[in-house]
Symmetry: C2
Subunit: 139 residues, 2 copies
């Protein structure tokens, strides 16, 4: 298990959308947008039970979560890891917190009646890069 | 081969960064930011020869390119496909065009001496979604 470097942590505070890559039954990666957070040990990503990505990780727990800095498109963090557990507990609360953070609403407004799971992802390999766009380099 | 729906094409004009997922030798997806364009048939992505992702697609041509709308983080296009060819021809010109479009500079300023390849990706499956954030739904 790896720890995320401090210099990547602001990416979880910014209004950046993450993507999660998981394996379709065909073996091809599915890559879709998600909200991601980091609790110091695991990456956290919520999804509805029974979605394609939920099915995917039940068959193959390997995932890759990538966040690009919206303020600097040459800066990103890529976390390769595995889904360690995915309880229903905490999933809706997590989603509400993210909706509060990014949308300024009290509650996530969709599918509240559907069972939801919270993926706990153990980082196995973390890649973070910052090349900087030319404007930044010259400022 | 699939054609991208018209309603996704603006994502290639906006200042959005795409990601490309390819297979590491371990089989885990590597997901990194790239510039992507669409010529009506292929997705186009340039990379330096010998990079990890160039090695990856030589061993397994399956890739997934995903673009999230920077103006609406619940709207995205995901293109699953295969790298059909990757000539050196046109790769630097493509990169310069993207640098002009997104950075407003005449030439891409990095690694101009390195050999570069232009991945031509045939779309096999296109997923595009737009749920809309609550602000948009209520506006």
């Amino acid at each position: 298990m790896e720890t995320l470097p401090d210099e990547t942590l602001d990416l979880f505070e910014k209004p950046a959308k993450a993507t999660i890559a998981s394996f379709l039954p065909s073996g091809h990666p599915q890559v879709t947008p998600v909200w991601a957070d980091y609790d110091g040990t695991h990456l956290l990503v919520a999804t509805n039970k029974g979605t394609r990505k939920h099915e995917n990780v039940q068959h193959d727990p390997r995932v890759t979560v990538t966040i690009i800095d919206p303020d600097d498109y040459y800066r990103y963090v890529e976390v390769r890891g595995e889904v360690e557990k995915m309880p229903e507990e905490g999933a809706l609360e997590f989603t509400d917190q993210q909706a509060q953070r990014y949308w300024g609403v009290d509650e996530y407004p969709y599918d509240r009646e559907l069972p939801r799971v919270l993926l706990h992802i153990s980082p196995e390999r973390v890649v973070s890069k910052s090349l900087g766009s030319p404007e930044r380099n010259h400022s």
